[in-house]
């Protein structure tokens, strides 16, 4: 059976709070603030929200349930998305279906996390049962070493070198310099990237994201509702998710996108060359490379060659992670699963301001999440189109 399309669903009010390296506030505070900023901007009252979707790592002991009482919300549709870097597109998929079905009229999809001194270490130590049992005891201060293994294998398998990954990081830094909310403020050269302090070979400092505090949000409503309110909106051409794909691959060189990619482009009735910009989940450059291959821009292992003569900045021929992504913007916990999606909504609706790609109408967003043990388990992607 062919999947139902996402007709009639509008994505509006893309909202990002400027990130902070450390915050004394809680995840509750960050989520409340991004929600208020978004609702004020869109002219929506809290009482009008009847759907609420939350993604956060640092709400403990609360979940979306506790937040309803804490924030005084009374939704008739409530969701909590524990999928890390894949959570943005997953939240979008679920909220879109709720709106299409009439289970909710206006859904706020919100993500936010705080970052206290030492809270990142505490999160890592109990990230998942498999991580607690089988990776954290091996010195894995976070996913650095996991991605070092994937990068090591990718380089061996496909002959990539560090400069291939460096070009991704350098272009994103150039993009981030246009984004006043980004954590990183200084330019980065390829030489600096290559000479950086090693973290877990072959990963060095500029391959890693900086954990920080921040929040991202958007609203999902019907197109009719958006138009009645005079809000610029994006529509969903297609959207996919997949979990624990290719479980028998001994090491992750491909993600779940490969299982669903034909359906994504088929639903969206377009192909990779038709998009004006690409937002990949970039906790490490190797993962962006993997997504660019698995989403159909080039074949497996051809990412380095494909990107070598591309300009990935906002004025280039392959605009990628236009707000600087997590590598230069910072990784605000689960908000890292929203950063590309929220920026893509801004881009295709012409609201991206200093990072705007001229004439952007269609964007590809992809998510990747949850290093449960030795690999990322969740993958997601969506094609968005702008209507202004």
């Amino acid at each position: 059976m062919r999947r139902q399309n996402y007709d009639g669903v509008a994505l509006v009010a893309p909202t990002t709070l400027p990130y902070q390296r450390y915050s004394i506030e809680t995840a509750h505070w960050w989520i409340a603030r991004v929600l208020k900023t978004m609702l004020d901007g869109a002219g929506v009252k809290p009482a009008e929200l009847d759907g609420f979707s939350v993604a956060s790592f640092t709400l403990f002991p609360d979940t979306a349930v506790g937040l309803t009482q804490h924030l005084g919300l009374c939704p008739r549709w409530l969701d909590h998305i524990p999928m890390g870097g894949a959570s943005g597109v997953v939240a979008l998929r679920k909220a879109a279906r709720a709106v299409q079905a009439g289970d909710a009229d206006i859904v706020a999809c919100v993500s936010g996390d705080t970052n206290h001194i030492d809270s990142f270490r505490a999160l890592l130590s109990s990230f998942s049962r498999f991580a607690m049992d089988a990776s954290y005891p091996y010195g894995y201060g976070g996913p650095n070493a996991n991605f070092a293994l994937l990068t090591d294998r990718y380089m061996t398998e496909f002959g990539a070198d560090r400069a291939d990954f460096g070009r991704i990081a350098v272009a994103q830094r150039a993009n981030a310099l246009n984004n006043p909310g980004a954590v990183m403020k200084k330019p980065l050269t390829l030489e600096q990237y290559l000479d950086a302090r090693p973290i877990a070979d072959p990963i060095a400092l500029f391959d890693c994201v900086m954990p920080c505090a921040g929040a991202e949000a958007f609203l999902v409503m019907t197109v009719d509702e958006a138009e009645a309110r005079g809000l610029p909106y994006a529509t969903i051409g297609g959207a996919i998710e997949r979990h624990n794909a290719h479980a028998d691959d001994p090491i992750q060189l491909r993600g779940g996108w490969t299982m669903d990619i034909d359906e994504l482009w088929g639903m969206a009735e377009c192909s990779p060359e038709d998009v004006d910009l690409v937002q990949t989940y970039d906790d490490y450059p190797v993962i962006s490379m993997m997504q660019i291959e698995d989403l159909g821009f080039c074949g497996k292992g051809e990412g380095p060659d494909f990107l070598r003569d591309k300009d990935m900045t906002i004025t280039g021929d392959f605009p990628h992670n236009t707000s600087g992504g997590q590598l230069s913007g910072g990784q605000a916990g689960a908000a890292g699963g929203f950063i590309g999606l929220v920026e893509a909504i801004r881009q295709v609706t012409g609201q991206a301001g200093p990072t705007q790609v001229t004439g952007a109408k269609r964007a590809l967003v992809s998510g990747f999440g949850m290093i449960n043990y030795d690999r990322g388990v969740c993958s997601s992607a969506a094609v968005l189109e702008g209507v202004t």
Partner: protein
């Protein structure tokens, strides 16, 4: 190739002794099967009872068929290093202090992919053999070892961080009068210990082992009576700060159960030596050793008890002696828990009847002093917690694991 360990320079008393830190200790209950196997140096994984798929990490249900029947079994430890990394920095203090630290991804021939510590002599992409080791948190971790032995491979810093290797360390053997003392001292000297203190009670009494002990390089005889608190404290004051491994081989043994003996005199002696002796040694030496577990090449590393295998189940011919050893065994579990935070390892060496005067009426097999000494040194090198020395102890362990109540009945005959 691993660089050979050099004897450490004299300790600078003005410098602060490094505080022990610990690798992450939290595990799921299922995963404790790895630690239990590591305590005996076995490489075991869960194998599905229905579809035989080998599982890793430890699960509550099979990832191929959803069966919850997942018994632990010995598995072929051979595999191949798929990818590797050298961690230069970590959010975890233990690894941060020990960086660079090498880890990798190993595809086991038996199926699963295992993130493992990687020995320095393993070459890129090489075939490896996984070993299940206790790390300093006392939990099982997997270490990829080269297929072939390489010279000085036991000196690899990551391997040494998990073992209790006596090389370049200073050892105290508690009882120089025990018939195993000479063999222990010789085996430890051959293993490269830098000093062997040997305790001797009532030095005015002749000790048939003395001349042989004094011939072993590095041996220094010390006055020590484990039944005398002030004697134990005095020695701890003298050498407690340089005791890296303590081997408690003190033992009082007489045959007989409860009814055979007319009084509790021997039982007092058994408890004084076998149970309270351990407690006195631990109270005097334990805190100092726990404070020195991160003290460089010759850090404090292990506490060894030689315990009768009849601590697990009573042998009524030696019924009261067995009981004193059961008490010592139970106390050792408390000690192990108390040592946990420091990383000091407690190794129990369970022995069957030993080849000595007090076991003369028993039939073979009996444990020879050399065999005991060999197993102690091997257990230290492998970093074990539980060693079963000799055929009787191994047999008892197997029967005990299969069913303690059945074993109890078997011990008194009637298990034809």
């Amino acid at each position: 190739m691993t660089e050979r360990l050099k004897p450490p320079p004299r300790k600078n008393p003005q410098k602060r002794t490094v505080s022990p830190t610990s690798p992450p200790a939290m595990r799921s209950r299922a995963s404790l099967g790895i630690s239990a196997a590591a305590a005996e140096g076995r490489f075991m994984l869960q194998v599905c009872g229905e579809c035989h798929a080998v599982q890793y990490p430890a699960r509550d249900a099979c990832c191929k068929c959803l069966s919850v029947d997942l018994p632990w079994q010995d598995v072929d430890p051979a595999g191949q290093l798929l990818a590797e990394t050298t961690i230069r920095t970590s959010t975890n203090l233990y690894f941060r202090e020990r960086s660079p630290w090498r880890t990798g991804s190993v595809k086991l021939d038996a199926g699963p992919v295992i993130i493992a510590h990687v020995h320095g002599d393993v070459e890129r992409g090489a075939r490896v053999r996984l070993e299940n080791k206790l790390d300093r948190s006392g939990q099982g971790v997997l270490l990829a070892m080269p297929e072939e032995r390489s010279p000085d491979m036991e000196d690899d810093p990551q391997l040494r961080a998990m073992s209790s290797d006596p090389k370049l360390r200073r050892v105290l053997i508690a009882d120089g009068r025990n018939s195993n003392a000479v063999a222990l001292a010789q085996a430890l000297a051959e293993a490269g210990t830098s000093m062997i203190f040997v305790g001797e009670s009532e030095s005015w009494r002749p000790n048939p082992n003395r001349s042989a002990l004094e011939k072993v390089p590095g041996v220094e005889m010390m006055a020590l009576d484990v039944t005398d608190t002030s004697s134990v404290r005095e020695l701890a004051g003298e050498i407690g700060g340089k005791t890296d491994i303590l081997i408690n081989n003190a033992r009082f043994v007489r045959p007989g159960g409860v009814l055979e003996r007319g009084d509790t005199a021997f039982a007092h002696d058994e408890m004084e030596v076998n149970y309270l002796g351990l407690m006195r040694l631990a109270q005097a030496f334990g805190p100092g050793m726990c404070g020195r577990t991160a003290d460089g090449v010759n850090s404090a590393v292990a506490w060894v008890n030689v315990i009768s295998a009849y601590a697990l189940v009573n042998a009524s011919d030696y019924g009261c002696f067995s009981a004193s050893n059961a008490a010592a065994f139970s106390l050792s579990q408390s000690l192990r828990a108390e040592f946990r935070a420091s990383g000091l390892r407690l190794m129990n060496v369970f022995v069957g009847p030993t080849e000595d005067d007090w076991h003369q009426p028993l039939p073979p097999p009996k444990v020879m002093p050399k065999a005991l000494a060999r197993d102690v040194v091997k257990g230290l090198r492998d970093g074990l917690e539980d060693v079963y020395c000799g055929d009787v102890a191994k047999d008892l362990r197997e029967r005990f694991m299969a069913g303690p109540k059945i074993l109890e009945r078997e011990m008194t005959g009637g298990g034809a």
